[in-house]
């Protein structure tokens, strides 16, 4: 685990964790080694008529992440993430900070499949 993507509403580590993955406002990419973060807008995913999850998955895979922490992840997005080797964690924490803490303390369990249907 080196680079983690969080689906968020906000602009920093205090940002709210967005329960949606495909249509999340943006992604916070946290680099564990550097202890730094960057932001990627999910413009293409949000504006996609269909296949938002696939688009969002592509966006974070291209950003080089190996881990995703989000609220829910649908079947198409999960398939793309799984193929690209990104480990998915479903999380209901309120903020990125809380989610990161839960992830690092090992209280989150890895998702083995999509946890919602498409278009939930």
């Amino acid at each position: 685990m080196k680079k983690i993507a969080f689906s968020i509403r906000g602009t920093d580590l205090t940002a709210e964790l967005d329960p949606r993955f495909g249509r999340a406002e943006q992604f916070l990419i946290y680099d564990l080694d550097q202890q730094q973060f960057s932001l990627i807008e999910n413009q293409q995913g949000r504006s996609a008529a269909q296949g938002a999850g696939i688009q969002a998955a592509e966006t974070i895979v291209r950003a080089g992440v190996d881990t995703l922490v989000t609220g829910h992840c649908g079947p198409k997005a999960f398939k793309v993430l799984e193929a690209a080797g990104v480990v998915v964690y479903n999380c209901s924490a309120a903020t990125v900070q809380d989610a990161l803490q839960q992830l690092q303390s090992g209280t989150l369990s890895q998702a083995g499949s999509a946890d919602v249907e498409g278009h939930w």
Binding site: Q50, G51, A84
Partner: protein
Amino acid sequence: MATKTQDRAVRIAVASGKGGTGKTTVSLNLAAMFGEPVQLADCDVEEPNVNLFLRCSTLKNQPVYMQVPEMDPDLCTGCGQCGLICRFRGIISLGTRALVFPELCHGCGGCALICPNSAITEREHKIGNVAVCQSGTIRLVEGRLEVGVSLVPPVVRAVQDQLADDLPAILDAPPGTSCPVVATLRTADYVLLVTDPTPFGLHDLKLAVAMVRELGLPCGVVINRAGDDQVGLRRYCEDQGLAVLLSLPDDRQIAQVTSKGGLVVEALPGYAGMFAELAQRLRQEISGNGGRP
């Protein structure tokens, strides 16, 4: 510009912005009073209902297929070119073997063409069916989208492919102003816009008129459930130079006949003349190129 194609009979689309204005009622009764053999195309393939009124037995069923990609894992190198060319995320490859999502594919075939390793072939994926049947002087061509499929325009085009060139056709369009409607209007020579005198009806008529003008098609208006015009519908039509070709009164009997699957012109002969006159006025409009914006 859509102009009447020389080598085929006229095609009249019956459209609306708002749903439930009476497109199917107008299409059916116009077809019944057309005065000559006519085709009636049910282009509302997401919920075709013309057949409920004609009760004819099917002469022909034509399945509608779309080509979707199939990837050979032994040949795919994960180069990613297929995913880059796909606008709809029907196929994606991020350094790994391509993943195919047939439900998002629009069947363009771009991925199969661009694949440098010939790892992608196309297979047929059924997306709908077109049924052809005959009821008296009306030849019905009905499109029906497969359950679970959301790609409508190819099925609408398949309906039009089954229309005979030597017979005039009435195209019963889906409501709205989106792709399925545009696909219906593409082969039309004239558009009949059905509306009702409600604020919604007028609002959506304006959208429909804008769409028809964008497509460069002539159009006329049918006012259904006409009564006191409290929304300025007629004034709008006058201002826009839109001919009102028929005004059907707000008559409970029409609703009763329609709810039982009957034709208004048969059950209520008083209306037969109105629809015959509509057919006549349409011929004049089309031959005189009237209503062209």
